[in-house]
Amino acid sequence: MAITVSRPKLNWSERLYLPAIAAGMAITIKHFKNMLFGRTKVTMQYPEEKWDSHMPEHYRGAPALVRDDTGRVRCVACQLCEFICPPRAIKIIPGEIPAGDRFAKVEKFPHEFDIDMIRCIYCGLCEEVCPEQAIYLRKDYAITGFTRADMVHNKEKLLEIGGVMHGVVLKWNEKK
């Protein structure tokens, strides 16, 4: 059913619109004046001013792979992040750790681990799904590049961003 909206009856001065126009102009000039004399707070001037110092703990920046205190790449290429990733930005090619290796007990490692940062939406599901505490969203946010290939973070780049994560569970040790 249609609803009939009754239009307000305007008196003579309202119908002239001039007072309303004057009031509007007064408002805009007030804003102009306040801005001009710096009385209005404006947005952060990004490249000169940065948020880094007071970035919150939960900030979701670029995803990265971490090593633990023993120096092992935490990732075991279970591909759960590849599976969960909504924009399908992650591509993993698993490999097998050779028998003589220090971490041979882990058996599996990511031979290649690419995250396409053009696709990544920084949702953090990869971090959430990771059963090995291997992938974390770091605080890097200025991810730039000149080509599409530049924007794909490979394993080396991811480890470089990720660094070492202390205090994670060491479940692949000999005692287990």
């Binding site: 759960l80 058996e107 287990k176």
Partner: protein, 574 residues
Amino acid sequence: MLVEHEQEHDYETLMADPATSAQLVNVQINGVWHQFPKGTRLIEACEQAGSYIPRYCYHKKLTSPGNCRMCLIEMGLPKMGPDRKPELGEDGKPVINWMPRPQISCAQDVSEGLGVRTDSPLAQECRKGVMEFLLINHPLDCPICDQAGECRLQEFSVEYGNAESRFLENKVKKPKNIELGPRVTLDDERCILCSRCIRFCQEIAHDDVLGFIDRGSHSVLTAHPGKRLENNYSLNTVDICPVGALTSSDFRFQMRVWFLKETKSFCTSCATGCNTIIGTRQDAIYRQTPRENNAVNSSWMCDYGRLNFGYLQSDKRLLQPEILSGDKLIAAEWNVAITHAAVQLKHFSGWEIAILASGRMTNEELWLTSRLAKILGVELIDIVPRQGPGDDILLSTDRNPNMNGAQILGVTRWPGARLRDITDGIISGRVKALVALGENPIEIGLTFAQLQALPAFVVMNLLEDESISAATAVLPSFGFAEKRGSMINGKGRLQRLNRSVRGPGEARDDWEILRDLIQAYSGQNSETDSRPGGIHSIEDVFRQMSESFPQFAGLSLSKIGDLGVQIFGTEATR
């Protein structure tokens, strides 16, 4: 099988009915009465009645050792009165005398008046306890375990297990990453000692190589001393292993199973045609696993057939149609290559042309081949027979998957009988043009020089072999996983191939190539006897084929179904 007993149906009349009581017994499952034929396993009966009972050691194609204890249920027998007749309750049904202790449902057959509670507090408590025991020494390997995603331990742990472990001691260490055989890797820590693999080797593969050693929680699965799990059916143990203890060395760490797109197909490595599921991701095949079809392969397949898909991804695949220009092959557009081949064949009359077809082609392709032969006027056409050692289980000595199709469709009556004529004709120079469809003529005794001397040598094949560089036209085609079509296995069963991956490069479906070749040669898409409609899809090919051959009457590719259709008895072929 399952006859749902209606609630208002009187138990006495059922008992009195001689027809039903002769074969069927009444079983109460979770308070509802059902009827099952005598001899049905209780675990199966419950599953048919809609109450799935979790199990590890039980496999319906194997014997029941009853060692995993996962299928414990609460059971009772009818209460017998002093007159040795079951006491009837107020509802006219027997009163059940519930046993105080749980029973395993996998080793129990149904019997008259049996009562089962699959989901009672006792049964639930039992499953929870069994799950906790099984997981005590189980490693937290899931992130690297190939079974993850199709692991019974994971599934039942979610459904019936505890969220947390109460286990405080150190887990028992067992050997990991052992090569049990050339194709199977064993991880003993993951093993739950269900013994399915042991029984499979004994009962199905007839190769008793596996067993348990040591006691208690130190018990491990191992191969008997000096033996390895290397029979041709070893990979079936990987399929039936409910956990990740046995994994395929070929598939190991290649791809997580949840990424795999599963396509129902069948194996084309021998005349048995075992039904399979092809696991693919992004146009790459990762594995082939058997699919249950009791008329063909039960639940098994041989390792040879299972692993015989790598050639589809080999870098020897032909990717681009080529024609001979001057003295070397150059890449050409499809229409150019087809026209080139047709024009070459037009230079010769039928008795100067030979066609070498393949028993690996589908019925549709073979039918089009016979049409091509008819249009060209070719008499000299044959299939290359392919033999190999077979066994009594599944592997056939006939390694061509569709020899029956070739015979039914009249491509050849006695496969291989005319190969000699073809080779002789080519050597003597009487045969001037050869069309090789999916076969390498060098394998039938011709030399490269003889092939190169042919004025026309048209090749349609998937892989580059030594004969290709002698060809005058190369038409790259599809492999079994890339196309649709039907084949008739050695026992006369018509089965269907489904497309699981896209073909590589510019390769095309074989039937399209043959159709285009016929069209380029004869100028028409329809048969000469002016049948309505041309051939625009594989369904059209099948329809036209079924009009000529009564064996296919009333069928279509979709009507063949996943399990195939028996179109003639086994006696007719053997």
